[in-house]
């Protein structure tokens, strides 16, 4: 369905997307996971025909996004990160307006708008101005607007940023329903829980490069058999102290005053670690014991947390 090969996009001297390649199969939800500024939105901009690639190629359903832009645009639906809606128009008017841009008209247009309002749970409030909606409601209309022309593939660019948990749940359920109906989805997020819940396959992107790719189980295996213990200390530890900690843990990653120790049996290792820190005179402000997940993978690959 979507084939991205050696995609590169520069803005002046800054390379936002650096040699990115991935494939998305029809009917799949593919997650592009990465922290803010990793290059997710820049990738989506190119895939949405909003920016030309500097090199590499992108094909959707066999169509080149540069040479066959018109056809590609009708195949894809875009849900931008911003609320790309008109606040002074009602939800229904917004949908009708975006539908008209794809040549839908008359009765078909109204029926489609009502179908989508119902699908996102806003049929009753369809005639209200979008400007009066909450963030979560706007996000849902934002998705509906991207679906007006029945695209074969939907790009969702961080669709749950800044909304309440209930709206987030609604959106995740909606994406699952759409996918179950056969829609192929490219989903960018920096929330690993969302990627874990929704995506069949995940590409981890950082500093414009795909640094890992695979199914959720493949990604978990990258984290190895170790699990992380995350500690936030009052003061930095000295190099000799860190060396001593390395005798207990398989791997130690430090980031300012935060230390992540990977151990095979964190519960057993914890008492020894805390004892050692007490001997150092270190003050522990916060402690987390995690199961191996995408966050762990990202941390292991980059030395940084996803939300940093």
């Amino acid at each position: 369905m979507l084939i991205v090969e050696h995609l590169q996009k520069r803005y002046g001297s800054f390379t936002a997307v650096h040699d990115v390649s991935f494939h998305v199969q029809a009917g799949e939800v593919y997650g592009l996971l990465g922290p803010n500024g990793a290059g997710k939105s820049s990738t989506i901009r190119v895939l949405s025909c909003l920016a030309k690639p500097d090199s590499g190629s992108v094909r959707i359903n066999g169509m080149d996004i540069v040479r066959e832009q018109g056809k590609v645009k009708r195949t894809i639906g875009i849900v931008p990160q911003d609320f790309a809606l008109y606040d002074d128009f009602s939800a229904r008017e917004n949908l009708i307006f975006f539908g008209r841009l794809y040549g839908i008209s008359g009765r078909e247009l109204k029926i489609r708008a009502d179908e989508l309002l119902e699908a996102v749970g806003l049929l009753e409030r369809g005639n209200e101005a979008v400007g009066t909606f909450s963030g979560g409601m706007k996000r849902r209309i934002n998705i509906a607007a991207g679906l007006m022309h029945k695209p074969k593939m939907l790009y969702l660019d961080e669709p749950t940023v800044g909304i309440d948990p209930q709206s987030r749940r609604n959106i995740l359920d909606l994406v699952k329903t759409l996918n179950a109906g056969g829609l192929t989805v490219l989903y960018t997020t920096h929330y690993m829980e969302e990627a874990e819940e929704l995506c069949h396959r995940i590409g981890v992107i950082d500093q414009g490069k795909i640094i890992a790719e695979g199914t959720l189980s493949e990604m978990r295996s990258m984290a190895g058999e170790t699990a992380p213990i995350r500690l936030e200390l009052r003061d930095n530890l000295s190099k000799p102290q860190l060396e001593q900690l390395r005798t207990i843990a398989e791997e130690v990653i430090t980031q300012d005053k935060t230390i992540t120790l990977f151990t095979r049996d964190p519960k057993t290792a914890l008492s020894g670690i805390l004892q050692m820190l007490a001997d150092f005179g270190a003050h522990v402000h916060h402690l987390e014991l995690d199961e191996p997940d995408l966050e762990t993978v990202f941390l292991k690959l980059t030395g940084r947390r996803l939300r940093d």
């Binding site: 949405s48 025909c49 894809i76 875009i78 790309a84 128009f89 307006f97 794809y102």
Partner: protein, 393 residues
């Protein structure tokens, strides 16, 4: 392709027409401002007499009072005390006080120096100046009479005392008959166009100024859309950047036509302004709205944010309005400013509307339309180039 353009244009036009602030800004404000400025400058169709105090008695003083009253420019009242003259103006009871010297007739005939004091309320503008001119004219009229009188007296060469008495009697009779004070008849007639009064002028001048302001506001909407992300969503649809820009400028143009058109109708109804033959006015209106859309394009092209656009548009519109005749008639500006005014949208538009109100066949109208159209094309091209560059980033 046309459907795509119409869809985007329709949205922009509908959104603006629904906006209460747009309606206030584009329609109510120019109507109210025209009313206020028109009245302040004294542009009603009839002259309203101003209160004028005169200190002085005798034939010459009475003649002046009669003159002013007869011209209907003033309601004259007499002050006994000269020391009150300035006070009356200061407290607003009189727009002007005229203090004539005592024993004026004798001083006049003796050709003694005459010192007439005039206190004028500076806010009376042209109408106060008009009364001052009338007083000066009256004194000049008297001076002519005095010269004629002296000539007559010098020509008298009586042989006897009886002859002298008869001659003086004849001269007196002649003076009484021929040298009566005659009031100037100030009758105002509607002649349309440039001469139809200050309301007509400011209706056009403010109409043009607010069309420019509205166009910049519309251009600001494009920046809002860029920041909100709707432009990107539009460009992800089958709409190309060129079609998008064309749609946006057509919307600005339609809104300008609507605004000027509605304002023309309102000003005709409320102030009785005659805009001229619709056939002559329509091309001017279309060209002005297009030029305003072009101006919106220029402001859009040079602004990086909505805040910057608001500031720049205010500065540009005010300067162009000052130079181009939207604040005061172009004829009152210095020659250099009149030359500079040729760079403004206001000048060409106001001139074209004024000429169209008088005659539909004046070739100067076509020149103004051509200049406005050229301004529109330059503005739209510049704005499009800049916007396309920004969207590509």
């Amino acid at each position: 392709m046309i459907n795509l353009i119409l869809t985007v244009t329709w949205r922009d036009v509908v959104a603006q027409l629904r906006s209460r602030s747009f309606m206030v800004f584009t329609l109510l404000l120019p109507i109210v401002l025209t009313l206020i400025i028109g009245n302040a400058i004294g542009g009603t169709t009839d002259f309203k007499p101003l209160p004028v105090a005169v200190v002085g008695t005798g034939e010459i003083a009475n003649g002046l009072k009669k003159l002013l009253a007869d011209t209907k420019t003033a309601v004259v009242f007499t002050l006994a005390d000269a020391s009150q003259a300035e006070t009356m103006v200061r407290i607003g009871k009189a727009t002007m006080s005229i203090v004539l010297p005592e024993r004026l007739e004798i001083k006049f005939l003796r050709n003694d120096p005459l010192n007439i004091e005039v206190y004028l309320d500076p806010t009376s503008h042209q109408r106060g100046e008009l009364i001052k001119q009338l007083v000066q004219g009256y004194m000049q009229q008297l001076e002519a009479a005095r010269a004629a009188l002296l000539g007559s007296v010098q020509a008298i060469a009586p042989a006897t005392a009886a002859d002298l008495q008869n001659t003086l009697l004849a001269v007196r009779t002649k003076i009484e008959k021929q040298y009566q004070i005659a009031a100037v008849n100030l009758e105002q007639k509607e002649a349309g166009g440039r001469s139809q009064g200050i309301f007509a002028y400011y209706a056009v001048a403010f109409g043009v100024m607010f069309t420019l302001l509205s166009a910049t506001n519309g251009a600001g909407g494009v920046i809002d859309e860029l920041e909100r992300g709707t432009i990107h969503r539009l460009l992800a649809s089958p709409l190309t950047p060129t079609l998008l820009l064309v749609s946006k400028f057509i919307a600005l143009w339609i809104l300008g036509v609507w605004q000027l058109g509605v304002f023309a109708v309102f000003s005709s109804i409320i102030y009785g302004v005659s805009w001229g033959s619709p056939l002559a006015v329509l091309p001017v209106l279309l060209a002005t709205a297009a030029a305003a859309a072009g101006f919106g394009g220029i402001i859009l092209g040079i602004s990086r944010s909505r805040e910057q656009l608001n500031t720049l548009s205010l500065v540009f519109v005010l300067v162009m309005s000052l130079l181009g005749g939207s604040m005061w008639p172009l004829e009152t500006l210095p020659a250099a400013a009149q030359m500079l005014s040729k760079l403004t949208y206001n000048r060409w538009s106001i001139e074209a509307f004024q000429l169209a109100a008088v005659s539909s066949s004046d070739p100067q109208i076509l020149i103004a339309i051509a200049v406005l159209s050229a301004m529109a094309i330059v503005g739209v091209c510049f704005g499009s180039m800049q916007l396309a560059r920004r969207m590509a980033r």
